[in-house]
């Protein structure tokens, strides 16, 4: 019992930053993100026996968070112990909205209209920076299935952008300033 608690605490310290980032990137509001984070770690505690060690723990938690997000609805996911403090901390992550600028806004809209599975694949690559094997673990798919689906997802996104005739003056406008190479 004490061991399990120490184990969750260690995993929490290791993964909290990644799981909060995952939730904030996908939820419209800080409150929703806080819900997803809380429920994800609550599930980790309930299923502590299944929680893998090391790097695998992060991937396992991404998988859980993804299901929580899919099932998310306020009445069930909200936990009693959640605090307004946590909401406020999550809100800090929402300071700089990526959707500023007309072009990015239009692209974001097209991105949101993609099928859920496409969006998640593209996001795991571009936002969580996972490789195919890691994505396969998160989604419970084979590596080959990930490769094929990712290819299709990229193609669909590219086509949707082309169809919407979204223009950007230059690629670099889309890259956040601090990431410019």
């Amino acid at each position: 019992m004490g061991d399990e608690r120490a184990r969750l605490e260690a995993v929490y310290r290791e993964t909290y930053g990644q799981i909060t980032a995952y939730a904030a990137r996908r939820c419209h509001s800080p409150q929703d993100a806080a819900d997803v984070v809380a429920e994800t770690f609550a599930i980790a505690w309930r299923r502590i026996g299944e929680l893998p060690d090391g790097e695998e723990a992060t991937l396992w938690l991404y998988g859980v968070a993804r299901k929580v997000l899919a099932n998310h609805y306020r009445g069930e996911v909200r936990r009693q112990a959640l605090s307004v403090e946590l909401d406020a901390e999550m809100a800090d992550l929402y300071g700089a909205s990526p959707d500023s600028g007309v072009e990015v806004k239009a692209i974001a809209q097209i991105f949101r209209a993609l099928p859920d599975d496409d969006r998640e694949l593209l996001s795991l690559v571009a936002w969580e920076c996972l490789d195919r094997q890691e994505i396969a673990t998160v989604l419970g798919l084979s590596r080959n299935a990930v490769r094929i689906r990712l290819h299709r997802a990229r193609r669909r996104f590219a086509r949707a952008l082309a169809e919407a005739d979204v223009r950007f003056r230059s690629e670099s406008r889309l890259i956040p300033a601090e990431r410019q190479l």
Partner: protein
């Protein structure tokens, strides 16, 4: 058509938290409170398994989902009809703190009216299955005052219903802010927005739908599975392990909790990889979907009069 690098670069630009960067810090107050509240409870148990019935597995899953939904809805309706509880209740104490309980998701108009009478700036909309209000309806308030609201939580004593309650301190609303609730069987969101908030225009939207979770484990001893042809039920762990080894399978143990009188069905006490006694009893073996090659043995430390997994002999349920 853009190439792959472009697509990934475009996707990266959409990230709210910079790609690869970390979000919150586990040392922050809210994060620490959350961890403490999670580990304040016992880990493991609250999973309960009713005994398995004689039906194809897929069907059981489908029905289980549907039944669960029906129970939630039926319960809400019967509460309303019997007059035990109204579909919603709003009370305000002298400090300006409002308590809201919502049990029926349909009466958005009634709730809106009552909130308005108590000077809570709120908009409530009902979203029928498969629809949701078109977003965005307004901008989100980012600095939410401490103590403005408690998070929605279960109504004590009605944990199995889908109703929820929350506390709102109306004195902490700033002018020009509105609480926006969208409620439906498929989901409820509560978001604090800046005025003006656009009225709800219902559009087809499946993203709030409760998706059926796929199981993480399947019965391993059935045809076509990793222990096909080898029965484990009612054997001892010592009798089962050699076969698992022979087939090159790894083992974990689900320690079952058996309710008083062994009526059929069991709880999960814990899952462990540490060995259990060779004389423990195995009631079924399951294979992990996520990790092929891992078997989970459902075990108890002593023999019971009948198989708790099936509420009797396995043969009564699985015939193949």
């Amino acid at each position: 058509m853009k190439n792959i690098d472009d697509i990934d670069e475009i996707t990266r630009a959409l990230a709210r938290v910079e790609p690869g960067a970390l979000g919150g810090r586990p040392s922050d107050a809210g994060a620490r409170t959350l961890l403490a509240s999670i580990t304040a409870e016992e880990p493991g148990p609250p999973v309960a398994h009713p005994p398995r019935r004689h039906r194809p597995r897929r069907l059981v899953l489908g029905l289980a989902g549907a039944a669960l939904l029906a129970v939630g809805i039926v319960m809400a309706q019967s509460l309303v009809q019997s007059g035990v509880s109204p579909s919603y209740a709003v009370t305000k104490d002298p400090d300006g703190v409002v308590y809201v309980k919502v049990r029926d998701f349909h009466d958005a108009a009634g709730l809106t009216k009552q909130l308005a009478e108590l000077n809570v700036p709120a908009i409530v909309d009902y979203a029928p299955p498969g629809k949701w209000c078109k977003e965005p309806r307004g901008t989100y308030v980012e600095d939410i005052p401490r103590g403005l609201y408690s998070v929605p939580e279960n109504i004590p004593g009605e944990e199995t219903s889908r109703g929820w309650q929350m506390r709102i301190n109306t004195k902490l609303f700033k002018p020009g802010q509105t609480f926006v609730w969208t409620i439906g069987e498929e989901g409820t969101t509560t978001i604090l927005m800046n005025d003006p908030v656009a009225p709800c225009v219902l559009v087809p939207d499946e993203s709030h739908k409760v998706k059926e979770e796929k199981p993480d484990y399947l019965t391993a001893t059935k045809k076509g599975h990793s222990l096909a042809g080898f029965r484990v039920d009612e054997k001892t762990v010592g009798e089962v392990l050699p076969e698992l080894r022979k087939r090159g399978l790894k083992v974990t143990y689900l320690i079952m909790g058996i309710p008083e009188g062994n009526p059929g069905g069991f709880g999960e006490l814990r899952t462990q990889t540490a060995p259990v006694g060779d004389d423990w009893i195995v009631w079924e073996a399951e294979e992990s979907i996520r990790k092929p090659g891992v078997i989970r043995l459902l075990v108890t430390d002593k023999r019971y009069d009948k198989n708790p997994v099936y509420g009797g002999p396995r043969d009564n349920v699985i015939k193949e």
